[in-house]
Every structure is written in C-alpha cells, then in structure tokens.
C-alpha cells in the first residue's frame, strides 16, 4: 500500500466517524429533553457533519478518482464505511447518548490535538479548526456526565447503564494497523497509544468525579477497520442516503 492509498483510508476513518456520529446525534432534533439542549445537540451534530464534509472532500482529492464528499457520503455501502463502531450505536435514552458522546468527544479531543501537528498541511488545518469545536463539545458532555452521574438515583443508574453498554466499543478506537504505522512514520498521523493514555486518564477522572464506576466489561467488539459493522449502520445509511439515491444530483 502506498502513502496515497493509506492516507485515503485514514481520511475515511476520520471523516466517516464524524459523519456517522453527527447523523446519529441529529436524530435528537425535535426530541431533546428541553428546547435549549435540543438546539445544543443539533449544533454539535452540525459541527460533526461540517468536519466530515472537509475531511471527505479532501479524501476525494487524495483518492484522485473525481469523487466528491457527497459521492463518498451518499454512494458507499455499509461495508465500505470505516467509522468506529461506537459512532453508529443507537441514541437510547438521553444518558446513553451523553455516555457515547463523552467517550467519543474525549477521544476526538486528544486525537485532533495531535492531528494539529500533522505534516499533512490540509489535515493540520482541518484539525486546527475542528479542535475549537471539539473543545466545546467535550465541555458540554462532561458537564452532563457530572450532572447525571452525580444527580438522582435514576440519572446515575441510566448513565452507568449507558457506559456499561458502550464500553465494549472503546478498545477499537485505539487499534492500529499497517495504515497507521505507515502514516505515523511519515508524521501524518499520531500514535494512538498516546491518545489512549490521555483518554484513559481523562475518562477515569470524570467518571470518578461523577461518582460512576469504570465498566468491567472484558468483551471487545471490533471490525470497523474492515468495514464490519453492527446491525445499526445499515438502517442509518438507508435513511441518510435515501433522498440522494432516489433523486440523484438533485439540487435546491
């Protein structure tokens, strides 16, 4: 695999994760617990989709086959998607959504902090812009971790259940393969073991302060690197891609 192919695959991983979690979060639109939180969640969802747009547009350029960000988003099937499994998991109740967002926001925060130093100028520029947004996302979800975790018996239980259910998807976030190795050696991508150390430290601190427990789940679910997804992604893509596929090249 040459550098260009590796970079294309790496960009799909980044862009697809943002796109899928952004789309998933957008399902809260009109269903938020209060109007203000509804707007907050959708702002965050839009940030993710905006980030995905930049990354997938660049992915299309790197691939060099004339595919746009829309082609990549709307015309690939489930097995061609490279998003992390945690990003496609169902919203569940509000606490479960907060658990998922907190796990992923913390990951993205430390990952993009490193990507700002990427030797690829476009990746570094996108990371520079996105890191400000992510800083806010993390602040927002961290506050909810404290409120729900250290809140009522019910909010505490629901958040703990959310963390327990999602924990098996966390180890996959730090897996590295030959694509990572190649890009790390070129200074384009960061070593995920650094991200993992930072992530664990922060997550442990917040979980402790929120009076929650680190889940003891030992089972580790993986597969997104090979395009093997949970049963939820297909349904998400069906909804997300329907209009584009029903009316190809429609504009308004």
């Amino acid at each position: 695999m040459d550098i260009q192919q590796a970079k294309f695959q790496y960009l799909l991983r980044l862009g697809d994760s943002s796109l899928i979690i952004g789309h998933r979060l957008s399902e809260w639109c009109g269903h938020g617990p209060i109007l203000e939180e509804d707007i907050a969640l959708i702002n965050i969802a839009l940030d993710f989709v905006g980030n995905a747009t930049s990354i997938l547009a660049y992915a299309g350029k790197v691939e060099g086959k004339g595919r746009s960000e829309d082609d990549l988003a709307y015309l690939r099937d489930e097995r061609e998607y490279r998003n992390l499994l945690i990003t496609e998991q169902l919203n569940g109740d509000f606490a479960t959504t907060i658990a998922r967002q907190f796990i992923f926001d913390t990951y993205m925060y430390f990952l993009y902090e490193e990507l700002k130093n990427s030797k690829d100028e476009t990746i570094a520029a996108i990371a520079q812009k996105s890191h400000k947004e992510i800083t806010y996302h993390l602040r927002h979800t961290t506050q909810w971790m404290f409120r729900l975790g250290d809140g009522t018996t019910e909010s505490h239980e629901r958040l703990q259940n959310g963390l327990n259910d999602l924990w098996m998807f966390t180890s996959e976030m730090f897996e590295m393969d030959e694509i990572d190795a190649l890009l790390i050696s070129e200074g384009i991508a960061p070593d995920l073991s650094i991200i993992k150390a930072n992530w664990e430290k922060r997550v442990n601190e917040v979980i402790a302060e929120a009076t929650l427990q680190i889940p003891t789940t030992l089972f580790k679910q993986k597969g997104s690197r090979e395009g093997k997804h949970s049963e939820h992604l297909g349904f998400l893509l069906a909804e997300m891609q329907y209009v584009h596929r029903a009316f190809p090249n429609a504009t308004w």
Binding site: E36, I39, A40, Y136
Partner: protein, 96 residues
C-alpha cells in the same frame, strides 16, 4: 409559578464587540450557571453575535412596574436640555 415544571429562567446578556455594554437578548432555562452560559451560547451566538456572555437568574432582577411609567419617565419628556446634543463628538469615538 410554584407548579412550573420548567427549569429556572436565566436572562442572557451579550457583548457584541470589545468596549460596548452587554445587551439583553433573551432568556434560557438552565439548572445552573454553567448550563445557562452554554445554553445561551448555543441559542444566541450561533451567528457570531457576541464575544462575551452574562447570565443572571431571572428572579434576581428587580423591575419597575408599568404603573410607574408616568411618575418615573414622563417628567423628563419636556427637558431637552438634558440631551447631550449640544456637544461635538470627537473623531474616532465609535460607540458613544
């Protein structure tokens, strides 16, 4: 209000540019000050409206009542000499 199931109301003030006063723009519901600031940020600053946010619990604000209008404000209607319209504004003063 005792049967109100909503979270407390916070009044939101935004500063548009450095040096000018914070202006009231509306209100949000929130359980604490940090949440009020975040909600204000998400509801009122999506289009670059501000660079600073103040939030104040709505019940901390004391207001004049509509009946006071006559006694409070009308006496100044016939006192135009109180307006600073007879001064020249120095060049370079933007937000006076």
């Amino acid at each position: 209000m005792s049967n109100d199931s909503q979270w407390p109301v916070w009044e939101v003030f935004l500063q548009g540019n450095p040096g000018i006063p914070h202006k009231h723009v509306g209100n949000v519901h929130a359980t604490d000050a940090e949440m009020a600031i975040q909600n204000a940020r998400d509801v009122y600053t999506r289009r670059s409206e501000g660079i600073s946010i103040w939030v104040v619990p709505a019940n901390a604000i004391s207001a004049s009542s509509p009946e006071d209008q006559g006694a409070f404000f009308e006496p100044s209607n016939d006192k135009p000499y109180r307006h600073p319209t007879f001064y020249k504004i120095p060049e370079g003063v933007k937000y006076l």
